[in-house]
């Protein structure tokens, strides 16, 4: 027995070792991944990020070099700190703090010491850099905005975070990625593909030559330039008009679905999100939970559309054959159902046919229409589903599936939507607010603009999109193929005539533009917020929908101005001016321009936060912009309106 103890132990250990080897090398041996191998250094070669041009070829976004001072703490030798600090424009305290932080991170790996030097500082520093051992300058590429407009359209780029790296392994620490707007939705096109070099290193992180003579290395693929559908001048004009207001403006070219302008107010200068102050400024924008400058109201703002939605009800009624254009409804100052009344602005006893109903925005006319649609087959449940299907064929109540980075579905209710509130009985009067575009109906400005485009085209639309052209590519079919609505072409004329009359003698008669036949519809929408959990009504939203010219439309537009009171007061003016600007290229209604620049709604927006009781609608007075600011705005207006040479 005694002879066998060591004998058996040796064999047991041999078996144990071979099992362990089997586990490590055969069972657990992952296929060799160059990217996860810490013995291989990956050096990336970043391609030039593509430029962004507007529809007229004006350069909006380019690149600029940026210089970071990097430090490798182990290689630093005693230096003239005073001189170095003054060159970098930092104080000694900051120098020591940053240096220690870099050393804690790693004495061998480079850390950013000072980021985003200005070109001037760089020029001075470069001369003297050799004096400071252990420091060097790293060139990076940042965005350079050639314009101050379109922050919500263009978006911005920023460093990837850990979450993105985990989800999209292409990105490595320190890489830049489009965060919002076009930069985000066309990220892959703009960025190109970075090249990579694999370098064998030793454990001190020193390079000892290309890995396998570079057989796995790749060369970078340049980012492609893109042209977007935005007209920079129109965009700038829209942003200026919306100054001191909140809301969204979307202008679409009906014949192509191209977005001409996409204004979200308030907005900001895209340049503030570049360079040294990016994170500071971004935090500021992000934390502004009241004005929400990062919230793209033209795409994400879900509002009750109000009266412009009456156009939809008119179209559905004609398609379903429950109303004829000439059929009249008498308005007794409102619409009575049961013992309730929906009030109307019409004079008592006005007889409205369809054109008149649209022109005067008669609530009684559309309440009747809506009920007729729902009660067509005697079942309001079937009726509302039919109604919902027609409205949805205009792209309402769903995502538009376009190339914009953000969006909202809005809401077009059907019977299913009401099943919890009205489980059993369901009558057309239950949802009567939908008749006038309130109640459960909700849309975003872009959806409403698209609806205007659908009407302008008499029954079809192109999915609104922002891309006009990508170098060497054709646009996908989803943007070039017309989408037909469920309304026949012949039913559009009476509705369009009604919209035309709105401008001729209706609610927008004061907004007429010479030589342009504009068709439009005003909207005034009641809205409520909760202040200390008390439901409080605020001044109505001002909404406007229009297209022009009447024949062969060039532009369809939707404007929302929060708390602007009635439709033609703010939104109508903005729409008319944008239309004139787009079609004529110059402005005759300068009176409207001046009015818009002069008036601000900021005091209106401050009310719910003031903590004091306040009055709304008729009880308010408009705030006049200060002389100095008004002067600046006028100056800006002049540069925008200056005809191009």
């Amino acid at each position: 027995m005694r002879q066998f103890l060591l004998f058996i132990t040796i064999i047991a250990v041999g078996v144990l070792f071979i099992s362990r080897l089997f586990y490590l090398q055969v069972y657990n041996s992952s296929t060799h991944n160059l990217f996860e191998d810490n013995a291989i250094r990956k050096v990336y070669d970043y391609p030039k990020r593509g430029f962004v041009y507007d529809r007229n070829g004006e350069l909006l976004v380019a690149n600029q070099p940026s210089y970071d001072v990097m430090v490798i703490p182990r290689e630093v030798e005693p230096l003239d700190t005073l001189e170095f600090c003054s060159l970098l424009k930092i104080d000694k305290e900051k120098f020591i703090k940053t240096y220690n932080k870099a050393r804690r991170y790693s004495p061998r790996l480079p850390s950013v010491f000072v980021s985003h030097l200005s070109k001037e500082d760089y020029a001075v520093l470069q001369e003297k850099m050799r004096k400071f051992r252990g420091f060097y300058i790293q060139k990076r590429s940042l965005r350079n905005y050639e314009t101050t407009i379109g922050a919500n359209v263009l978006g911005d780029i920023g460093e990837v975070n850990n979450r993105i790296i985990k989800r999209r392994p292409y990105y490595k620490m320190g890489d830049l990625i489009g965060k919002q707007g076009v930069e985000a939705s066309y990220e892959k096109t703009l960025r190109g593909v970075k090249g990579i070099k694999f370098i064998q290193k030793d454990r001190f992180n020193r390079n000892i030559g290309p890995y396998k003579n570079g057989e796995f290395d790749t060369i970078p693929e340049q980012g492609k330039d893109i042209t977007i559908t935005i007209d920079a001048q129109l965009q700038a004009y829209g942003e200026l008009l919306m100054k001191n207001k909140r809301g969204g403006v979307i202008a679409i070219e009906p014949s192509s679905g191209e977005i001409l302008a996409m204004v979200a107010a308030p907005t900001y200068d895209p340049n503030i999100l570049v360079g040294r102050d990016r994170s500071k400024n971004f935090t500021k924008l992000f934390n502004d939970s009241i004005a929400k400058p990062l919230f793209n109201r033209s795409l994400q703002g879900v509002y009750e559309p109000g009266s412009p939605f009456k156009l939809m009800n008119a179209l559905i009624a004609l398609q379903e054959g429950v109303m004829s254009p000439n059929e009249t409804v008498t308005c007794h100052g409102g619409y009575r159902y049961g013992n309730r009344i929906m009030k109307c602005h019409c004079n008592y006893g006005t007889r409205n046919d369809m054109i008149g109903g649209i022109q005067r925005s008669c609530n009684a006319y559309f309440a009747t229409t809506y009920r007729k649609i729902l009660d067509k087959n005697g079942s309001a449940s079937d009726g509302i589903n039919t109604w919902s299907k027609h409205a949805r064929s205009f792209g309402l109540g769903q995502f538009l599936n376009n190339d914009l980075f953000v969006g909202q579905k809005g809401r077009i209710p059907d019977r299913d939507y009401y099943k919890h509130i009205y489980p059993k009985t369901f009558y057309s009067t239950y949802t009567i607010s939908n008749a006038i575009g309130q109640g459960e109906v909700a849309t975003t400005p872009i959806q409403l603009a698209n609806m205007a485009a659908g009407i302008a085209n008499r029954g079809y639309y192109y999915t609104p999109h922002i891309i006009k052209h990508i170098e060497g590519e054709t646009l996908p079919e989803q943007f070039t193929k017309a989408k037909y609505t469920s309304i026949d072409k012949r039913h559009f004329e009476p509705v369009i005539e009604g919209m035309y009359q709105v401008y001729k003698k209706g609610t927008a008669a004061s907004l007429q533009v010479k030589d342009i036949d504009i068709c439009g519809k005003t909207g005034t929408v009641e809205n409520f917020v909760k202040i200390d959990s008390v439901k409080t009504q605020l001044t109505d939203h001002s909404i406007f929908l229009a297209f022009a010219p009447k024949e062969d439309p060039k532009i369809a537009i939707a404007v929302f101005v929060e708390n602007g009171y009635w439709g033609s007061r703010f939104a109508g003016k903005v729409a008319s001016l944008m239309i004139e600007k787009h079609i004529k290229g110059y402005i005759t209604r300068t009176d409207l321009e001046e009015w818009l620049l002069k008036h601000s709604l900021e005091n209106e927006y401050a009310k719910p936060y003031s903590g004091e009781p306040f009055r709304i609608n008729g009880g308010t007075t408009l705030q006049i912009v200060e002389e100095k600011e008004y002067f600046q705005l006028k100056k800006k207006l002049k540069t925008i309106n200056k005809p191009k040479s």
Partner: protein, 425 residues
């Protein structure tokens, strides 16, 4: 005449071939682990691989010398060799050179000599001599103490020089003594001690005590050979005492770095952040070495083609971590080959030892096998993360002249003794 021609072939050629296989393959791996750049000048004496090549050449001379000396010399002079070895260890306290925190080297000219490597061989001779003495009775407690003193002296000396790894080597003499008749009682105590220590650290003293109780109970009812109740209780109390003692030893006496190694080995640390930190600091070697071995796969990345070896990612790779080079460049096949060669060498020596007619030769042979085995076990076990990190070279494989020569002497004395077998009576 016939007898004379046969003389040459009385050396055990199997052992010699296995010996040279290990030395040769070891050299290739040292070359791979320590070369830099593409131009290799094989005799560059500033580089480990150059020096090792010289050491290997000199080994041939050493072997001829060892085999030329009369077999009886080793037995006769074993006491003197032992005394010289001990004096050389003591001398380190005065003349020693400190390398990596251990004062284990004499610096002679440009060379360094590590006497602790030779002390193992000297101790093996002394133990063989003492045990094989006709007056020694291994069953007597007095003689056990004497043998224990022979072994503990070099163990304590190297421990004082901060060479924990070499100290552990002396524990291997247990195998020798057990073979020669040390009571089973010691084996039981040894195994129980190791088990209780590991279990206490891993699961805590209370659970270990409960397990000990259940084990004793089971033993009481199942075994034919009854232990008395009184004894059982005594053993149980001892187990509890050891269990708590180990915990106390771990927490209060061990130095932080030793604690960390054990904690990592037994997977005691659960906090991933701390584990990550461990991997970057003291466990860096182990982590890199495991990665290197894993990346080898079945067939390896090829001689001189391992990324981690070329990039010098595993510190001390040409010495204690040489096996990770084998793992990365020669893969599962190459590594298993090395393990098998070691096992064959050990079994061959054991087999020869059992064939010896003289007790001195047998005990010495056992000593040789035990010493090589414990190196083999601790070194490869450590490199693969099976046992805690303990600095100890892989015999015949790791870089180092002292080590190579010491093991050459250790093995070839035995080959010489073995060749003299038929002359014994």
């Amino acid at each position: 005449m016939v007898r004379d021609t046969n003389r040459h072939f009385k050396f055990d050629w199997i052992t010699i071939i296995l010996f040279f296989l290990l030395v040769g393959f070891g050299y290739l791996n040292i070359l791979s682990a320590s070369h830099t750049g593409n131009d290799i000048s094989y005799f560059d004496l500033t580089q480990p691989f150059g020096k090792q090549l010289i050491f290997i050449f000199l080994t041939f001379g050493l072997i001829v010398l060892l085999l030329a000396i009369d077999a009886k010399f080793y037995e006769r002079f074993s006491s003197i060799i032992y005394i010289i070895a001990m004096l050389s260890l003591v001398g380190l306290f005065v003349f020693g050179k400190n390398v990596n925190g251990a004062t284990s080297w004499y610096a002679i000219g440009g060379m360094t000599l590590q006497p602790s490597e030779f002390a193992k061989m000297a101790t093996a001779l002394a133990v063989a001599k003492y045990v094989s003495d006709l007056n020694t009775n291994i069953k007597s407690f007095k003689d056990q103490i004497q043998i224990f003193i022979i072994i503990i002296i070099p163990a304590i000396l190297v421990l004082l020089q901060n060479d924990t790894g070499s100290t552990l080597v002396y524990a291997s003499f247990f195998f020798v003594l057990y073979r020669e008749g040390l009571p089973k009682f010691y084996l039981a105590i040894g195994v129980a001690l190791i088990l209780i220590s590991i279990l206490s650290l891993k699961f805590g003293a209370i659970i270990t005590s409960i397990m000990a109780f259940i084990f004793l109970l089971a033993f009481h009812f199942l075994s034919k050979k009854k232990i008395r109740i009184f004894e059982s209780i005594l053993i149980f109390i001892a187990a509890i005492a050891i269990s708590f003692g180990v915990k106390f030893f771990y927490q209060s006496i061990l130095q932080p770095h030793q604690k960390d190694r054990i904690s990592l080995w037994l997977r005691l640390e659960k906090d991933p952040a701390k584990l990550e930190k461990m991997k970057q600091t003291f466990a860096y070697n182990l982590n890199e070495s495991e990665k290197a071995i894993s990346s080898g796969g079945v067939t390896g990345r090829g001689f001189m083609k391992g990324e981690r070896t070329t990039g010098k990612f595993v510190p001390e790779q040409h010495t204690d971590y040489i096996f990770s080079t084998v793992g990365e460049e020669w893969g599962f096949l190459g590594s298993s080959f090395v393990v098998i060669i070691f096992v064959l060498l050990l079994l061959r020596i054991l087999h020869l030892a059992e064939l010896q007619k003289s007790q001195f030769s047998r005990v010495y042979g056992y000593g040789v096998a035990s010493i090589i085995f414990i190196h083999f076990f601790i070194n490869i076990g450590m490199v693969m993360g099976i046992i805690p990190t303990i600095g100890i070279p892989l015999p015949l494989f790791s870089y180092g002249g002292s080590g190579l020569w010491a093991f050459t002497i250790l093995i070839f004395i035995f080959i010489k003794l073995d060749s003299n077998r038929i002359n014994e009576w």
